[in-house]
């Protein structure tokens, strides 16, 4: 005799400790199996695209900080690249290196959060997350030296960066790198071959490459699905064409690979930062642009970067005025969520939160 159960619909979020912010999803279960998933967005919708139409080009930088608030530097970078494309200008070399360097520091900080919460959701309560936060704190202190802010940095400007790094910054950065390599090795040792972690995540919720591509998935999730695609390599911006790094690729497409790719990317980020420190030369850090920018009417530009979550793009249209006529934000978190059905349906309740954690969403960016 088989026992059948009535399907049951459960509402997860928007106030839930493991949905990375105010994410809400309605899930229909048959026993423990997930049969239907419906994400509900909009709880953090602030209308960033509309707000951008009422601010001048430099002021919009502050809005981008508040998109994915765990990687504000990279958001700044994407927006500034789009404005520079619109104006047809290039920042000076020192600014390009400073941007690359801070963006990679931010990528480390963001991946540490992603990895920390991912393991926390598997039940490793506290310790690995705090290991991550310990190092992230040091990165935020470095940002504070650069621009006085920790999270909402607004460090970059169209045409360069806000200011050169203070003299104390470089020794502090070197001290951080020295300590971080040991701290991170400890974390790798603790997690990478952890038996519980592997049993819980190996083979769970694989996303085949063709599905990932068709769903416009990008970033570490796409690479974990075995697709070798990184905008830092394909379309180098800032100083990425001057530095060497590898692109880690997953082979099993599962939750473990998504976690593994992020760990490996942190290692590559350290490599990039070291090369930036070695190659950076004195010089101006900002182009002498007018305070109020007026790109030519009718011009448009799509600037994109490889953000910590995936491809972050800004599509800007100018009408010759002082603010963007249209500022569309292609946010990786929202578009990566397209695979949520594929990721969850057919899998168990216990894997749901972990799979959700493996795509590393940030609600500030999903809802904008």
């Amino acid at each position: 005799m088989t026992i059948r159960t009535e399907p049951m619909t459960v509402n997860v979020g928007p106030q839930h400790p493991s949905t990375h912010g105010v994410f809400r999803v309605r899930i229909t279960f048959d026993g423990e199996d997930i049969v239907e998933v419906e994400p509900v967005f909009g709880y953090l919708h602030r209308g960033t695209e509309k707000l951008a139409e009422e601010r001048n080009y430099v002021q919009v930088v502050t809005l981008t900080d508040r998109l994915d608030y765990t990687s504000s530097m990279i958001n700044n970078q994407a927006y500034c690249l789009a404005v520079e494309k619109l104006l047809g200008v290039e920042p000076p070399p020192r600014a390009r290196y400073l941007r690359t360097l801070t963006a990679e520091l931010q990528r480390i900080a963001s991946h540490l959060i992603a990895v920390g919460f991912f393991v926390q959701e598997l039940g490793a309560f506290g310790t690995p997350l705090m290991y991550g936060f310990r190092s992230r704190e040091r990165i935020l202190e470095l940002f504070e030296m650069l621009c006085g802010a920790r999270i909402t940095v607004s460090y970059m400007r169209p045409g360069g960066v806000f200011a050169d790094a203070p003299r104390d910054f470089w020794p502090a950065l070197n001290r951080f790198l020295e300590d971080f390599e040991d701290e991170f090795a400890e974390m790798e040792q603790l997690l990478l071959e952890n038996e519980i972690l592997m049993i819980r995540t190996r083979g769970v919720s694989p996303i085949p490459p063709e599905v990932a591509i068709n769903n416009s998935v990008s970033g570490p999730v796409l690479r974990a699905s075995g697709v070798n695609w990184d905008w830092r390599k394909q379309e180098p911006y800032d100083a990425y064409d001057q530095v060497e790094f590898d692109v880690p690729i997953g082979s099993n497409w599962d939750n473990y690979d998504r976690f593994w790719v992020r760990i490996q990317e942190v290692r590559q980020s350290i490599r990039i930062i070291k090369q930036c420190i070695a190659q950076i030369e004195p010089g101006p850090v900002r182009l002498d642009l007018p305070l109020v920018l007026r790109p030519e009417a009718g011009r448009e530009a799509y600037g994109r970067v490889e953000a910590s979550k995936g491809e972050l793009g800004f599509y800007l249209v100018s009408d010759g005025g002082i603010s963007p006529y249209r500022c569309k934000i292609r946010s990786p978190s929202l578009i990566n969520l397209t695979v949520i059905e594929r990721l969850l349906v057919g899998w168990k309740l216990a894997d749901m939160i972990v799979s959700l954690g493996s795509i590393d969403i940030n609600m500030g960016e999903v809802d904008r």
Binding site: F41, G42, K50, N215, S216, E300, Y325, I335, L337, T338
Partner: protein, 147 residues
């Protein structure tokens, strides 16, 4: 290998070869196609081996008051090329365009967002409802006449 952006002229020529008269205009970076043929052109650009645009970067809408432009950014991972095509829709009320959901699943949330914030209804999308705002909200806030 660096990315190779397809110019508007190349794209318009390729589209017109497959569907004569469908590409109506082009500039340096993009080609305009007839809005009622969006789905056919999308399927052609994705499936033809010569173009192979498997990856849809983004779908955007821009409100120019007399008309709307739908903007599609595409990438071919295999050929390392990119392209932009647009479709111009005139009017303010009851705007409709074919959905590319069945071609690129990645258009799902972006088309819903355009419906929500710009008020262009995509036909053929299986779940065409508001995404950021609640059902029953009046108006489409990203339009230029919404204050």
């Amino acid at each position: 290998m660096p990315m190779r952006p397809l110019s508007g002229e190349e794209l318009a020529k390729a589209v017109n070869q497959e569907y004569p008269g469908v590409a109506v205009d082009y500039d340096e970076v993009s080609a305009w196609i007839r809005p009622n043929r969006i789905h056919a052109v999308a399927a052609f650009l994705k499936d033809s081996p010569a173009h192979d645009f498997q990856f849809l970067n983004s779908v955007s809408a821009v409100d120019y008051v007399e008309y709307f432009d739908l903007v599609y950014h595409l990438t071919s991972l295999r050929q390392q090329s990119s392209a932009v095509f647009k479709a111009r829709i005139y009017g303010r009320e009851d705007l409709r365009a074919p959905s590319v959901y069945s071609v690129w699943r990645g258009a799902d949330f972006q088309e819903r967002e355009i419906w929500d914030l710009m008020g262009i209804h995509f036909e053929g999308h299986p779940n065409m409802k508001r995404i950021m705002l609640w059902e029953g909200f009046e108006g489409h806030p990203l339009r230029k006449d919404f204050l």
